[in-house]
């Protein structure tokens, strides 16, 4: 965030050096995609091949297989997305869980009886979700695919963090050892607030803000909300307009 950007200017180096947008990065991404694609097809294929459902009916039919592969893909993508998100705010929770929920909602709607009765030819998948998503093997296959796709990424990231930490990893705050869970205090630092407002030209051009050391973490404080006179909300990187 902006606090770290000021205290760790080396964070800009990888961007300037195009470290994350190089041929090597692209090839790694392509390899990961190839591996995931193979897993996402062949694990469902092997799981339903020659198998039947718990009441003897077909489970290896075209529509059920398509639905199974699709579900594996959506769940895997959501799990991978959760891993990649650096910050889980309420908005992130809403969109990730909401995506998953929307997928199931739309699937059940499109495969419902009502829509089929309206337009028979357009909705031929009627009953597929109802018949295959109550099978234990289908959910076990989804779980297996998600784990197979995501855990290698976790291992790779963890090992590289230990063996070859980049500046991004080093700039992370150490996890608070006293607390039972990893929970960052809320980041309400907003150095932006005073840098974009007028009236601070004197402060910025003076050398005052070079003197103070920047605290690593700013304690959360409630924002003032809208007010008639503009005031920077929160502790602006330890500085206040009165110049204390």
């Amino acid at each position: 965030n902006d606090c770290y950007s000021q205290s760790y200017p080396q964070l800009y180096e990888p961007g300037q050096r195009s470290l994350y947008f190089s041929k090597g990065a692209f090839i790694k991404c392509a390899l990961h995609s190839c591996y995931s694609s193979l897993v996402l097809f062949f694990v469902p294929y092997a799981a339903v091949r020659d198998s039947v459902s718990t009441d003897g009916h077909d489970i290896a039919d075209h529509q059920s297989f398509a639905l199974l592969t699709q579900t594996c893909l959506t769940v895997t993508v959501c799990v991978q997305l959760g891993l990649d998100l650096s910050y889980w705010t309420a908005v992130n929770h809403l969109f990730v869980w909401g995506s998953l929920g929307m997928y199931f909602l739309v699937t059940f709607t499109m495969q419902s009886d009502g829509l089929h009765r309206l337009y028979a030819s357009s909705f031929p998948f009627v009953g597929t979700a109802h018949n295959s998503l109550d099978q234990v093997t289908v959910w076990l296959t989804v779980l297996l695919t998600a784990v197979l796709c995501v855990l290698p990424v976790v291992v790779h990231r963890f090992l590289f963090m230990q063996l070859n930490p980049t500046i991004n990893d080093k700039a992370q705050p150490p996890p608070p050892r006293r607390r039972a869970r990893i929970r960052r205090s809320s980041t309400r630092c907003s150095g932006y607030a005073f840098s974009y407002a007028y009236g601070y030209g004197d402060l910025v051009t003076s050398k005052r803000f070079l003197r103070r050391p920047v605290p690593l973490r700013s304690a959360g404080s409630t924002p003032a909300g809208r007010s008639a006179a503009f005031r920077p909300a929160g502790r602006s990187a330890g500085y206040s307009p009165s110049g204390q």
Binding site: V48, D55, D61, A66, T89, D113, T141
Partner: protein, 323 residues
């Protein structure tokens, strides 16, 4: 400094608009990753063992070739399901898969002769330009072999009843497919002006004349066939052995299978087989899931140990360097 711009365009100074929402930041630290992998590994091994043991308990008897008499060596726990299987049969071929008319099959006679789905071609009209009902390749290629199973008891053949009811999906039977309404009290009249598919021996309204609930588009074998398979090697349910003396299962002994061959597969290099199987909470016999879970669980535990070793080694190295 000149007066600033009006303050109406200034974004609200709330946590949401200024990106100051409380956030949880997941960090891949050793305290989370290594125990997490161990837990996942143990859970997967547990599930894998359960799946593998269950799959081993499911009995699966495959019958290939033209030998008629087969010995069942042990008691086959019921209910036993009777499947016919085909290989090298690409029901998942795209042109084949779209070759049917959903409106026809839902009983809409408007689509019988006036407007049939164009993708049904070349099984849309016969050589005399009569419309075919049900049109398309999937219906035309319906499996036509019939099976009868007998147990040989004291040299006499005792029929094992095959229950053909409820072998298709409930949604297929009740929602997806419907018969057209009777015309003048006759089911055959509802199909007047149309002809049967080229490869069929009987028209669709004679698929089961004894049971109107199993006739026409609602014939269970027809429904099972129309549910196209995803893979070239598939098996489809033909009947259930769950009645009479065989309600508990098939006792050990000799059995005779009488097959009425009428379905040609040699021309495309396919094979036919019959499979008898029972099921469990995980469905039919499938070794893959059990073995996969066991392998992945073990790999997780191995990786957890590897990561622990690397973490310990580099942690102590870092500590030494700091000193």
């Amino acid at each position: 400094m000149k007066a600033g711009p009006s303050r109406t365009n200034r974004p609200d100074n709330t946590a949401f608009t200024q990106q100051r929402l409380p956030a949880w930041q997941p960090i891949l630290s050793a305290g989370i990753v290594i125990p997490g992998f161990t837990l996942i590994g143990l859970a997967f091994i547990g599930v894998g063992v359960a799946l593998f043991v269950t799959s081993q308990k499911i009995t699966d008897l495959e019958v290939r070739g033209k030998r008629d008499t087969h010995a069942v060596l042990f008691f086959f726990q019921g209910p036993v399901f009777f499947y016919y299987g085909l290989t090298s049969y690409y029901q998942n071929f795209r042109t084949y898969g779209v070759s049917k008319d959903g409106y026809q099959l839902s009983g809409d006679t408007y689509y019988f002769n006036v407007r049939a789905w164009y993708s049904c071609a070349p099984y849309q009209y016969d050589s005399n330009n009569n419309p075919i009902v049900p049109c398309g390749s999937i219906a035309n290629s319906m499996f036509s072999d019939t099976f009868q199973l007998y147990q040989v008891v004291n040299g006499m053949k005792k029929q094992v009843p095959l229950d053909g009811k409820g072998i298709a999906w409930w949604t297929d039977y009740n929602i997806k497919y419907s018969n057209p309404a009777l015309v003048n009290g006759s089911f055959a009249n509802a199909f007047s002006g149309t002809v049967k598919p080229v490869n069929w021996s009987k028209p669709v309204y004679e698929l089961d004349p004894t049971d109107q609930a199993n006739n026409g588009f609602l014939n269970q074998n027809f429904l099972v066939w129309m549910r196209q398979a995803a893979l070239p090697k598939f098996q489809k349910l033909y009947g259930r052995i769950a009645e009479g003396d065989y309600a508990q299962g098939l006792p050990a002994g000799n059995y005779t299978l009488l097959i009425n061959y009428s379905y040609p597969v040699i021309s495309f290099g396919g094979t036919k087989k019959v499979v008898l199987s029972n099921v469990s909470w995980m469905g039919g016999k499938n070794q893959f899931l059990g073995i996969a879970y066991l392998v992945i669980g073990s790999l997780c535990i191995v990786m957890a140990m590897v990561m622990l070793i690397i973490y310990a080694k580099y942690k102590f190295t870092d500590d030494d360097e700091d000193m």
